[in-house]
């Protein structure tokens, strides 16, 4: 008598449990199906919002550091805040590319106009207008402008995604955020090196070639670019780099063209030394050799070098020093600096292997030459 009801209840309990179990998982499935993307959008918005907050702090910090530098080091006679703020929103409009013929010259013209304008404005802004101070101010403004632009673009897609509740816009942005943050972190770190004039990783090519220029007569060969003539085992070296210790990158393309076309030099080789972005897993300071024009940037200089080398049938050799984006734009790390000895050895070997006594060779150190004179 007493056993029966409990068995019946147990049986009923098991059935109810199974039913609840099934209903729970079906409910969960429907919930996931109906609200899954909304939940992901919520998390993505939170995530991007946090990153956006950090970006805002970064861009404000770089702006403040730039203003402080202009006031404290540049001895700006009046408050430069308003001018700096105008600068941050300054845009460079690239030429139309639907008809690409002659576009490089157009880009060159626009970029040169922009650079000249920036320098003229910075020179007018500071009272202590030594070339080093002006060039550092230019670089600091560039960093502040880049961070401001990145913040604006991320904010644009964040608000757009939020407004339209667009899952794909937000997820794509969320996936890109780690790389964006890494790049911005590198830019912000660069400010500290620029302010005190410390050489950056990108300048390793300039460090290597400066060893051939010390004590030699230097002449200006292009805007912000110098050349010295050195000798190595019977070869005449035309050594080119940006004019240091200012934070210049110079015009190596124009310089090489002038050496060949205006000075009438017939080089047996053009050897370029530059920093190269390493792939994850590669060691900082590793040296790679190759052929081709080793130069980054917008492409104008690379085009000019390739054109003059092709026209005159001069082989282009490259020596690259591997580093990350952070290492390239912040103070030069020990591993990179110490690679300069190996770069010089590699350069000497390439000269010996690819040229013979009596030949002319153009050697170019590429990169920002801040803190590296010659």
């Amino acid at each position: 008598m007493s056993l029966f009801p409990s068995v019946a209840l147990q049986s009923l309990g098991t059935d109810t449990g199974t039913l609840v179990y099934i209903i729970f998982f079906m409910g969960l499935f429907v919930f996931q199906f109906a609200f899954g993307t909304r939940i992901q959008v919520y998390f993505a918005l939170n995530d991007i919002g946090r990153g956006l907050g950090k970006l805002k702090v970064m861009k404000e910090k770089s702006r403040k550091e730039t203003i402080d530098y202009l006031v404290n080091v540049g001895k700006a006679p009046s408050d430069p805040t308003q001018r700096v703020d105008q600068f941050l929103d300054y845009v460079t409009i690239m030429p139309v590319n639907t008809d690409p013929q002659g576009i490089i010259n157009k880009i060159d013209h626009i970029v040169t106009t922009n650079n000249d304008r920036v320098r003229a404005e910075v020179t007018a802004l500071v009272a202590q207008n030594s070339p080093v101070t002006v060039s550092i101010s230019e670089n600091l403004l560039e960093v502040a402008t880049a961070l401001n632009m990145i913040h604006k673009i991320v904010r644009h897609y964040y608000i757009l995604g939020k407004k339209t509740n667009s899952y794909f816009t937000l997820i794509q942005l969320q996936m890109l955020m780690p790389m964006i943050m890494q790049e911005c972190d590198a830019l912000l770190n660069a400010v500290d090196s620029f302010k005190v004039g410390q050489p950056v990783g990108d300048g390793i090519g300039c460090v290597a070639v400066s060893k051939f220029m010390v004590g030699k007569e230097k002449r200006a060969i292009a805007k912000d670019t110098v050349m010295a003539i050195a000798e190595y085992k019977g070869r005449k070296l035309y050594v080119v780099k940006a004019d240091g210790p200012m934070a210049y990158v110079g015009q190596p393309g124009v310089a090489i063209k002038k050496v060949i076309e205006e000075m009438g030099v017939k080089p047996s080789a053009i050897i370029m030394i530059d920093a190269a972005l390493k792939l994850e897993g590669e060691k900082t300071g590793e040296i790679a050799e190759g052929v081709g024009a080793a130069i980054g940037g917008i492409g104008v200089e690379k085009f000019q070098i390739e054109e003059v080398a092709t026209k005159n049938k001069v082989p282009l050799y490259a020596i690259l020093v591997k580093q990350s984006i952070l290492e390239a734009i912040t103070v030069m790390r020990k591993e990179i600096a110490e690679a300069s000895e190996k770069v010089v050895q590699t350069l000497e070997r390439v000269i010996e292997e690819k040229t013979k006594e009596g030949d002319d060779v153009i050697v170019v150190g590429i990169g920002n030459t801040l803190g590296i004179a010659q």
Binding site: Q40, F43, D47, I48, R50, G51, K54, Q174, M175, M177, P178, M181, Q182, D185, V196, G197, Q198, P199, V207, S210, V214, G244, P245, T330, V331, M332, R333, K334, I336, A337, E338, S340, G371, I372, A373, Q374
Partner: protein, 67 residues
């Protein structure tokens, strides 16, 4: 959900040094970087041979041993 925004890396402090090298006896002296230093700048007299040294490198290294 795992955050895709990386937390700020715990950076080890970087100390910046200038290396003064004697062009005659190649003796190298490492000292702390001072504002105004640049590569090829004339340094102090060489402690070994008395010649004029030059700043040959400026670099940063971590204050903590890596690893």
């Amino acid at each position: 959900m795992i955050s895709s925004v990386p937390a700020t890396d715990k950076k080890s402090k970087l100390l910046v040094y200038s290396i003064e090298e004697c062009p005659v006896c190649n003796q190298k002296t490492k000292r702390a970087f001072v504002v105004g230093d640049y590569i090829t700048k004339e340094g102090s007299k060489c402690t070994k041979c008395g010649n004029q040294t030059r700043v040959s490198l400026v670099y940063a290294e971590s204050s903590k041993p890596s690893g």
